[in-house]
Symmetry: C2
Subunit: 128 residues, 2 copies
Amino acid sequence: MERIPILKMGVFLLVTIQVDMHDRLALTLQDDLTDQIVKHRARGVLIDISTLEMVDSFIGRMLGTIASMARLLDADTVVVGMQPSVAITLVELGLSLKGIRTALDVEKGMAALQLAFAERGDTQDDDS
Amino acid sequence: MERIPILKMGVFLLVTIQVDMHDRLALTLQDDLTDQIVKHRARGVLIDISTLEMVDSFIGRMLGTIASMARLLDADTVVVGMQPSVAITLVELGLSLKGIRTALDVEKGMAALQLAFAERGDTQDDDS
């Protein structure tokens, strides 16, 4: 089970991180995610980290990398479900996740993506 | 990280299983899920097993138990993303998951839940 599932929800993709990330898994996720963005013409990526009780600079950088890749493929990234202690650690690590949007839960993240999506004036009306 | 996250999507809950299940984790999931169904007044549960490459009778029984518990709390359960090899194994194990609805992916599962939800004539119109 060395693969993080990517779920398609309308024009958005949802990833829930619930296992310890290591180099190979992070690379696999980046590959899979970019493939899926292109394959499904996804316009946004939601990354749920609600089960992460601690983060290190590796995870912080990984989130940044994913967001940058997604942006190049014209998809927004929203990180959702961050625990308060994780927010504290990230700032203490000097990782303020610039350029990454966050939301309290999946529903709020989805709403933020839909708003951004609508603002860009796309004609697709798929949602879910 | 000994906890499987449960994501709220409108009146439905989404669980993606991506780690090896063992007794304690399965019990925690059942407890959390029943709590969340009641807390959010959820009407359906989606269980994504797309990363499971094999199942044993333990997982099969767990899915059945979750569906039965959800039903008692007036929520439908849909298992989504089953790999073909898993379907073969389940039948060979004699576990045909009676009473559990399945769908090919999260979107189809969500559509099935919404249809069932509409048919029951509820007045809530929340979806996502």
